[in-house]
Amino acid sequence: MQPFRVHTGTAVPLDRADVDTDQIIPAEYLKRVERTGFGPFLFAEWRKDPDFVLDRPEHAGATILLAGPNFGSGSSREHAVWALEDAGFRAIVAPSFADIFRNNCTKVGLLPVQLPAAAVRALMDAVARDPAARLTVDLEARRVTGPDVGEAFEIDDFTRGRLLEGLDDIGLTLHHEAAITAFEGARPPWLPTVPST
């Protein structure tokens, strides 16, 4: 996983509530068996509208997505996170996220930043006024800053530490293999198993 410390870039405002992962990447694009190459299909249906905000020239090269509440609802497809990452996004700022999507982001290193709705609105307004405005998402300081906006965000220490270092969860868990083995030894023997064929 790519570490995330401090990122500065331009932003694009996607001012819609309840953006589900079927919109972020429609199911017909989930057939690839690789982890890369999903960027071109990001918001595939919405991009058929030539006016769609992500395709406006003034937002070309944006690396921070400003979004509405309940971003990433619906399907658990991590492809949604891969598509955003592949399209160059490093952070998403929204008033709230769907649980599975938020979790998937932290596994990949795309930073989900939850801010009060008013702060997200202020950032969207700032970017609407000046699309070249640069925002800084500082995970070390847990703070987002932009023109006329400076707002702290919450993230638990463990997830923050893991993202700052870009640590692999599996590697961390395998440090506790003895505990896993001990747990397995105490499970009731009648629990269901499916022996390999």
Binding site: Q23, E45, G74, S75, D99, I100, T173, V194
Partner: protein, 465 residues
């Protein structure tokens, strides 16, 4: 102080707890399908890791599979071949297409008796919450987490808050489990369950069959909750007894003892409690583009009160004030992990028996598993569907998410027993209305939204329920 059922299951699966870190939970059953697993297996190979417990892992093909003969999409075939190779390489049991055990991952787990009370069950699919119907703690995960479970049989998780959803009273005739969950989502909202595990309680929930409880738990994610469950009871035990992976003899008694302890303690408290009057529920139809945008079938398309409603109405090409019964779908889809089990098919068949699908309407039934299909054929249900003009298909996710050839054309409108009415969910430009199997079946006959009662069908006597 007492504990809630989700807390009890959580605590029983704690491998490790450390201050400031997520809990490490043991996973009893990991279900795998072709779409969210290839990158996880690749990750294992790159890190030279194996699958820790192939004997607690089961795979099937469901999202991509064709449900009718015809040319196969070469990219789908590639994804299914990848699953086959991965299962061979890592020693995982697979139910591929063509196998009688194949089906939607959330239908085959319960049918094999692998889904049992008190287990922690995960799958790279948000509808894993379905298994909560048995009093299991079951939730959807992303592909990175799939890889984590394959490698370690555990997951680091923060314990969610708990929410009691109590549905009290007798369900009115014609109100299905689907209507119960649509009513719950309408009440708490599509994000109302975020950060919570839901426990469905109350006399209306107790009165539901296992199939009905699965329908309710299935759509927990549509209320924003990763997991929803129902405490196991005699209905649960009767469903489980005799299924392939369920213990027998003396071990069955041991299992029962344990399962009977799986209930929320009387003095336990939930972080949030919601009570719903079952007697006030009606058949629901969704009008918008998320599962919270529903109205009773007797209602009209609502006036928009915000931007999101305006956008949804435009996408759905609906005019506020239009009676729901005047909306005419082009396609009726009976299937998906929400409503494709034998009981769903029995109800739909009882509605359409001796009637014809409305002229010009496309109607299809996609059983949830090949075993459900076989059971339905044993009962002669396929002949009822076919005589009415329904297509009778093989098992798969099919038109719920349109990853195979079963999809809506742009602008086409469906009455669908599935779980999501998102824009383009059933095919780009398609317009989805979520309904129960009974309403879907009646709508196929009438050509517009309606209930079995509108057709003069008395469901209770028709199904013998």
């Amino acid at each position: 102080m007492g504990r809630t059922l989700p807390e009890k299951i959580w605590d029983e699966h704690l491998v490790r707890r450390a201050e400031g870190e997520p809990d490490l939970l043991y996973v009893d059953l990991h279900l795998v399908h072709e779409v969210t697993s290839p990158q996880a297996f690749d990750g294992l190979r790159m890190a030279r890791r194996g699958v820790r417990r192939p004997d607690l892992t089961v795979a099937t093909m469901d999202h991509n599979v064709p449900t009718a003969p015809g040319p196969e999409d070469p990219i789908s075939v590639q994804q299914m071949d990848a699953l086959r190779r991965n299962c061979e390489e890592f020693g995982i049991t697979l139910f591929p297409t063509g196998h009688i055990g194949q089906g939607i991952v959330h239908v085959i787990g319960p049918q094999m008796g692998l889904t049992q009370p008190g287990l922690v069950i995960v799958c790279g699919d948000s509808h894993t919450s379905t298994h909560g119907a048995f009093g299991a703690l079951a939730f959807g995960i992303g592909t990175s987490e799939v890889e984590h479970v394959l490698a370690t049989q555990t997951l680091p998780q923060r314990r969610p808050a708990s929410m009691a959803i109590t549905v009290e009273g007798d369900l009115p005739p014609g109100v299905a489990a689907k209507d119960v969950i649509l009513g719950i989502i309408a009440r708490i909202g599509t994000n109302g369950g975020a950060g919570h595990i839901l426990e469905y309680r109350g006399s209306a929930i107790r009165s539901l069959s296992m199939e009905g409880r699965m329908t309710v738990c299935n759509m927990s994610i549509e209320a924003g909750a990763r997991a929803g469950l129902v405490a196991p009871d005699d209905t649960t035990f009767a469903y489980l007894e005799g299924r392939p992976h369920v213990p027998t003899g003396q071990t069955w008694e041991q299992a029962l003892d344990r399962w009977r302890s799986l209930a929320t303690d009387l003095d336990a408290t939930f972080d949030r409690e919601v009570t719903i009057d079952a007697t006030a529920l009606t058949p629901f139809v969704s009008w918008g583009t998320n599962p919270g945008q529903t109205v009773p079938i007797d209602a009209v398309v609502p006036e928009p009160t915000d931007e999101s409603m305006t956008r949804a109405l435009a996408y759905m090409a609906l005019t506020p004030g239009t009676p729901i019964r005047e909306i005419r779908p082009d396609t009726v889809f009976i299937g998906s992990c929400t409503n494709s089990r034998i009981e769903d098919l029995r109800i739909a068949a009882s509605v359409i028996r001796g009637r014809r699908v409305h002229e010009g309407m496309r109607a299809l039934v996609v059983p949830g598993s090949m075993l459900v299909k076989a059971q339905a054929e044993k009962e002669g249900l396929h002949r009822i569907f076919q005589a009415s003009g329904f297509e009778w298909r093989d098992a798969g996710c099919s038109m719920c998410l349109a990853m195979n050839a079963d999809r809506l054309a742009p602008g086409e409108r469906s009455a669908s027993t599935s779980n999501r009415n998102f824009e383009g969910r059933q095919g780009a430009g398609g317009r989805t209305h979520l309904v129960s199997p009974a309403v879907a079946a009646a709508t196929a006959i009438a050509g517009h939204f309606c209930t079995p009662n509108d057709l003069g069908v008395d469901l209770q006597s028709a199904t013998g329920a």
